[in-house]
Symmetry: C2
Subunit: 300 residues, 2 copies
């Protein structure tokens, strides 16, 4: 089947593309040419590498992209739309200049919040994909990852959001601080995770005070790498959950992410009595890009 547009999820470390026929993906490809490793001139070739044989001999192919590709240091800077607002407005997409005239690329805007200052690029498209299936959702979406986004939704709009750097902190502390000697790349022990998460949710000082104790525990009490990894993860995620309490307390909360990661958020939330569930959001970004395509066709 001949594609009539191309969907692109272009993050810091990864580029994913889909050849689309209407709302149906007919082919999918990916590369590691994320925005983080490209100069502005590198984007068009990196994209063509994956999609050249999907392009028509004549005429233009619409390409709709979201993510860090729209950052200041990306292909072309896409704007931030100020919340509160709907997650998506493809009519405000940025159109980077191209050398290959068959390409008609648009980079979707991100979202911003003035105070407390916050930004997102890419997650807004996942949120749009979620709302395409559940337009009446009233509650909070939690999107964990390197940077975790907490997003309060009402009446189809993003009311406010907050970013936590928990994933990045875990990676830096476990691999590069003195705790690397104890943790490194060890898997996280579930029981140690649960105990530490519960402690840090109840006492926001626990994460500040408890880090070095993991190194000392290894030296004095033979604390193992997996227990220490679980405790570090629990301290950091528990601290995040405590600090994000306004987002999940008395609100339906859906954690969107791959099951192993989503569980690290969902389990302590449920243990704290929250109305929390999780959703494997693998294809939400595609649903969001499809919603953008539909909106552009309805009112070009």
């Amino acid at each position: 089947m001949q594609p009539d547009w191309i969907a692109v999820d272009w993050g810091t470390t990864r580029l994913r593309v889909w050849a689309m026929s209407g709302a149906q993906p007919v082919a999918a490809r990916a590369s590691d040419k994320g925005m983080g490793g490209l100069t502005p001139e590198g984007f068009e070739p990196a994209l063509l590498e994956l999609i050249a044989d999907w392009l028509p001999d004549r005429g233009q192919m619409p390409v709709i992209a979201c993510g860090m590709v729209g950052a200041r240091t990306g292909w072309a800077e896409a704007e931030y739309r100020a919340t509160p607002c709907t997650p998506l407005d493809p009519h405000r997409a940025t159109r980077p200049p191209v050398r290959d005239a068959r390409l008609d690329p648009r980079i979707l805007p991100g979202l911003s919040q003035a105070e407390p200052a916050d930004v997102m690029r890419g997650e807004e498209t996942q949120i749009a994909g979620f709302l395409a299936a559940q337009p009446d959702f009233d509650g909070t979406l939690c999107l964990p990852g390197t940077h975790c986004k907490w997003v309060a939704i009402r009446a189809g709009r993003v009311e406010r959001f907050q970013t936590f750097m928990t994933g990045e902190l875990f990676s830096l502390i476990s691999r590069q601080s003195v705790l690397r000697l104890t943790i490194g790349d060890a898997a996280t022990d579930d029981e140690a995770f649960a105990a530490a998460a519960s402690r840090a949710m109840a006492d926001p000082n626990a994460a500040h005070a408890g880090l070095f104790a993991l190194r000392a525990g290894a030296l004095l009490h033979d604390l193992g790498a997996e227990k220490a990894a679980g405790a570090l993860s629990g301290l950091l995620i528990g601290a995040e959950l405590g600090a994000a309490r306004d987002f999940w307390h008395d609100r339906t909360t859906i954690v969107i992410g791959a099951p192993a990661l989503a569980r690290l958020y969902e389990t302590p939330l449920r243990a704290a009595g929250a109305d929390a569930a999780h959703l494997d959001g693998g294809e939400l970004v595609l649903a969001g890009l499809t919603a953008a395509r539909t909106a552009l066709q309805e009112k070009p």
Copy 2:
């Protein structure tokens, strides 16, 4: 004047030695051959590089060392003495084997605390140096650095202590996380520091929730590198001060360190009404090593 012993402060990144005549330093040298860059076989040559011409033609030279040189991955593992205890017991020093028979080295023990698990190596000798001058001190010592130690002292003994990884976290977050794009090696703005420290002392969630806002503030509101550096430092130190409140609330607290660093702790402590002062502790380690030498001579 001929030295009769040699004092050694051997940390992770630096080696400092003094040729001593009784309690008087007659010469001082230093190199960057810290414990972190040496294999066990490398310690004796690294030491001899600095002190060979201080050694006698015959007979032995006492060498008294403290710090990470006594770590498991150091020259020879020195024990940890369990608190509560005095900071110093040179009779329990470890004597690493040497090839050069003129060397008689002793590595002083560190201190440990079983619960919450904690350890120190080197700071106990600074504490001993402090107590040599103020034996009746009753209060808290705060020793900031890569890892900051809070130490409760009474009747010449370390009652309990706690380590915070604040300096290491600041370095990792400012230079290696996404905030490196905003902060890097910028100096810290005093006003931004004070505001953030006060906020984080009052609300332990502020440091968890406030990190990414520094990146977003740069993108949305032109937050400058020095303001962001000051705010990051304030959030992390404020969180530490909040979590260490038991150590400084209603207790005389002395921050020991170089003035610029000590001020980052002393200023918010005083703003919070604490009885805090600071002491430039540059030579405390030498006073502690001298106290160890004296104790060994009194009862060899």
